[in-house]
Subunit: 344 residues, 2 copies
Amino acid sequence: MNRRHLLSLLGAGLLALWLPLASVQAQAPTSDPLPSWNDTAPKQAIIDFVTRVTREGGRDFVPVEERIATFDNDGTLWAEQPIYFQFAFALDEVRRLGPQRPEWRGKEPFRSVIIGDLRALLTAGEKDLQEIVTITHTGMTTAEFTKAVKDWLATARHPTKKRPYTDLVYQPQIELLRYLRSNGFKTFIVSGGGVEFMRAFAERAYGIPPEQVVGSSAMTKFEIGADGKPVLLKEPEVEFVDDGPGKPVGINRFIGRRPILAFGNSDGDLQMLQWTAAGDGARFMGIVHHTDAEREWAYDRQSHIGRLDMAWDEAQAKGWTVVDMKRDWRIIFPEPREKPGDLP
Amino acid sequence: MNRRHLLSLLGAGLLALWLPLASVQAQAPTSDPLPSWNDTAPKQAIIDFVTRVTREGGRDFVPVEERIATFDNDGTLWAEQPIYFQFAFALDEVRRLGPQRPEWRGKEPFRSVIIGDLRALLTAGEKDLQEIVTITHTGMTTAEFTKAVKDWLATARHPTKKRPYTDLVYQPQIELLRYLRSNGFKTFIVSGGGVEFMRAFAERAYGIPPEQVVGSSAMTKFEIGADGKPVLLKEPEVEFVDDGPGKPVGINRFIGRRPILAFGNSDGDLQMLQWTAAGDGARFMGIVHHTDAEREWAYDRQSHIGRLDMAWDEAQAKGWTVVDMKRDWRIIFPEPREKPGDLP
């Protein structure tokens, strides 16, 4: 969660209705590593790239240790409408904690959240939205925060899809992550989302372990508790915003190598894609374009969430791969699972 | 490099003499994973621990993905006397850059560094030492800095050992890292040293890839250069000090999991060891005690560099493993290699 996004967290989409359509999920041949991708140009470009960089002795061969792939999360690996899921968590936390905080009942923005007055929230300023995030993300230990996120993910349902949030990952991307790993890639998340929020589900949902999640963070403080046990306290101060130009900075800080493949979906990913493109040798830059108002959502240049404008222009100018969700993805979300949150 | 260490970077040890002694490096049986360790208690404690956490169905079994091991660098994986090697790099950089910076000739602390007046440097204040670090570590791109470190490592020689700095890694620890990895552990460096400095050699010297190096850092800025190519600029502002209480903070930020094994050698590692010890299940906390004035150096409670005082007391109180370098390590440094910097 970061300041730049706070104003756009609540868009008109918050109130939007969505009509689910059954998607045809026919079985693909097992030899296809990307069965949920249609046989259009992006799938071919991915397979060509992976084939080239893994062909020993070939001109584009990349040693295993340099096969770094970075993925944005919101809108690239899972959905981000009608509001960032992390902000949905923050709103639900205010409601959950409300009974213990009687002083909130007369105080904005908490009052509107608790009584469900979404219209009032839509007009709230950045300061109010920041306060909702701060109060729900700091002032507790890292262990308490992780527990709160896991509890929420286990019970919360998306307002229109009526499914657990971790069911709203993109099946084609799960397959792509798996395909890359089976070809020696190390897959990372590089997202503006909170690093501890994402780590609570990234391993089960994407097969990406905590140490391969790069995100925004609050300051953290080490303390020895009254019981003699050390704790890490999340403090109400922004430490790092992993968005826009912060993404290559975060890649340098956490990974220390330049990716050879990067995937995003919005202008917040532009610098990560530029940084990836500027390396030597074969590169793959991908952008998910949200074009499917029926199965998912359709938005780009005018959207408050996940705006795709400058990065789209640059992708077209530079020949990066733009995935048209409606045209290129045969399936978007995985089938409902017995245990929500596990890899499909 | 961090502020808290600056004053201790130059100790009396800077002028110390050292007489090398040939060490007996007999061949050990190949079935022994730690041939450079004597058969004393620490070696047995390590093997017992690894055996317990890897025995499937056993009470202390730990799944592979949770087998996180963190190692301090200076004094734990390689030597740190008579001055931190990273500070030796900074001094050499001032000398290398001197001819291009005529203004330095009349200006302290640069004048003393350039003319080799170590006695004057010893009396320099923190501000002067900070200036040496800042001028040699910031104001360039990350790529330029990495090149400078690699060039230095390829040519510089330790003042008394007369060997490349990357030859002064501890052979027993190289074997331990390898032994842990062969048992499914992911090995990390968590050090007060600069993250980009360490990444320049950690993969070749220790088999630890850049994305598993946690360290101190300067602020970094993303910019599109005049040629249209993006660069990351290292700026003269401290971003993060990965020392003392900063170590568990760094572990949380970069790794997102609690280690089950941690190794350090000084009070700067105390909180990392406490944080490791406070987890559930089997744990291993190790401390290297520098006791070998002949083969390496002997120092602990009174040392300006790598002071071991509070952490030693806590180790004894809590039963952590203290490695007595003289007693427990059969070999300290690896044999000279054909290509300095490669894994022994």
